[in-house]
């Protein structure tokens, strides 16, 4: 069993490169993670499998870089969002196919595999449906399904 967290990260990215989004899931308590790791942060079990995800998600927070704040990222505007998958785990990701002002907390998204600003395969998102009316606020109890 691989024990370094790097090897779990590598596995996550290998699945992405093969075209599937799989998350580490504890086979003892069912807790899903990122971040990857050799031990379950819920029950400290070291057993896991790789579970695919549905791809539905919701925006919890989002920002647009309107001015460059880093020499490597001068192509503004671009966005970054905190996204909660329907499985309950959160990811930092880019949302594609939206313009500034169109991205709102509470908005439904679908996951896709994209190429990162660094050229690596990463999980990204796009709006689940074209903009449909005013968004509503995200809430911890939000269990909306697609």
């Amino acid at each position: 069993m691989p024990t370094s967290s790097r090897s779990q990260d590598a596995a996550f990215h290998a699945f992405l490169a093969e075209g599937t989004i799989r998350l580490q899931r504890c086979t003892d308590c069912g807790y899903m993670r990122p971040p990857t790791g050799f031990v379950c942060p819920q029950c400290l079990s070291e057993r896991w499998d790789w579970s695919s995800v549905d791809g539905g998600a919701i925006v919890e927070g989002c920002t647009w870089y309107m001015q460059p704040l880093h020499p490597r990222f001068t192509d503004v505007p671009y966005n970054v969002a905190l996204v909660r998958l329907d499985e309950g785990v959160r990811l930092i990701a880019s949302v594609e196919e939206v313009a500034p002002g169109e991205l709102q907390p509470g908005q439904r998204l679908r996951a896709k595999i994209a190429t990162s600003l660094q050229g690596n395969p990463v999980v990204a998102f796009r709006p689940e449906k074209p903009q449909r009316g005013p968004s509503r606020a995200a809430h911890p109890d939000d269990k909306e399904t697609p």
Partner: protein, 376 residues
């Protein structure tokens, strides 16, 4: 019921010093640190620097190394040190612990920085995620602010209250780097940097130095100025980040708040003066709500009409804070709270200030801390 020892007032700030904040083309960080240290020694009435037996500094953001500083200063204190995360509050708590445990008698906390060419640039230089371009700590505040606005329907003017107050206060502070007054109209007309944050919402990098001297009670009482006692501390760090619910809205502050108020035997209503490490204006809003100065989503109403200005219901950062005075990651706020509690602040003095609270809002790693200081 608290296990903390601070309410016994065994540890006090006895001297503070700070340089002018802003641009210092001809003085390096160590020289600025020395300027501040000399001022703090003079403030405390300490003639013999060798009485200082602990020196803590911060290396972060091109700061200063404690050993190198002591070498320049010709000092050999029994403790020199730094922490892995050393914004104001974290380092001062370390100093207080060294004193309370009898390890040291007097500890100087010194921070200075001067990275050429950086003055005036947005603060928060930190790389989180290169695959997504998630860079700069203000982006984390921006993510949080988008969530806050959506959840509570907050308007664009809410953060403007913070920025306007910061500059109104800075105008009264002779060492402030950014004393120009700001109107709400100017604020609202400003462009976004990382939406929904504008440039007025983001502290700008400054060069400068600050020094704080802490001493054990029996020593503090023999020095020149009225001691300002550490009374309680609360802290919460958040290694788990986004696994935590509502992480973007700084839930760690609630844990720090519960600790600090329980240890102090106080409530937010007892606090005369609040100092926030305001790298972003949003930090003030999260602090007001999570520490219980007002309810969730109510910070806008709390701040409207000068609520956080000197003379208002809760003066926040009367020095101008990081948005108006200078960006020394929370260290300058300690110098200000000491001077306010001593009543030395002239035009920006908060009337009858006896209890001051400092709140750190670190978003590089999500480190929250709060401390309460009092005079007897």
């Amino acid at each position: 019921m608290s296990r903390q020892i601070w309410h016994r007032h065994e540890v006090a700030v006895v001297g503070v010093g700070a340089t002018r904040q802003g641009d210092h083309p001809d003085r390096g960080a160590y020289a600025l640190g020395m300027d501040a240290f000399k001022a703090a020694l003079a403030d405390a009435g300490i003639d013999d620097r060798h009485r200082i037996d602990g020196v803590l500094t911060s290396r972060q953001l091109s700061g200063i190394d404690p050993m190198q500083f002591c070498r320049y200063a010709g000092m050999n204190p029994r403790v020199t040190g730094d922490l892995d995360y050393s914004t104001g509050g974290f380092t001062t708590q370390y100093a207080a612990m060294l004193l309370a445990t009898g390890t040291c008698e007097m500890v100087a906390c010194i921070y200075a920085r001067n990275l050429p060419g950086s003055t005036g640039k947005p603060c928060g230089v930190y790389d989180y995620d290169f695959d997504r371009g998630l860079v700069n700590a203000n982006a984390i505040f921006a993510l949080g602010w988008s969530q806050y606005k959506a959840r509570y329907g907050a308007g664009e003017e809410v953060l403007g209250y913070v920025a306007v107050a910061a500059h109104r206060h800075a105008a009264l502070n002779p060492i402030a780097a950014w004393p120009e007054l700001l109107t709400m109209k100017q604020y609202l007309a400003d462009d976004y940097v990382v939406s929904p944050l504008r440039s007025w919402d983001i502290a700008r990098i400054t060069a400068g130095g600050v020094a704080l001297i802490f001493a054990r009670r029996e020593i503090a009482q023999d020095l020149a100025k009225k001691p300002v006692y550490l009374h309680a501390v609360g802290r919460q760090q958040a290694p788990r980040l986004y696994e935590n619910e509502d992480q973007l809205l700084c839930p760690g502050m609630r844990s720090a708040a519960a600790q600090v108020y329980s240890a102090a035997g106080m409530t937010p209503g007892d606090v005369d003066l609040l100092l926030v490490s305001d790298a972003s204006s949003a930090a003030v809003v999260h602090t007001l709500e999570n520490y219980g100065f007002c309810g969730e989503g109510e910070a806008g109403a709390f701040m409207a009409g000068g609520g956080i200005e000197i003379g208002g219901r809760l003066p926040v950062n009367p020095s101008g804070g990081q948005l108006g005075e200078g960006y020394l990651v929370g260290w300058l706020q300690h110098a200000e709270l000491v001077r306010q509690l001593r009543g030395e602040c002239g035009a920006r003095q908060v009337a009858d200030a006896q209890i001051a609270q400092y709140c750190a809002t670190g978003r590089q790693r999500e480190d929250f801390l709060s401390s309460i200081y009092v005079i007897e």
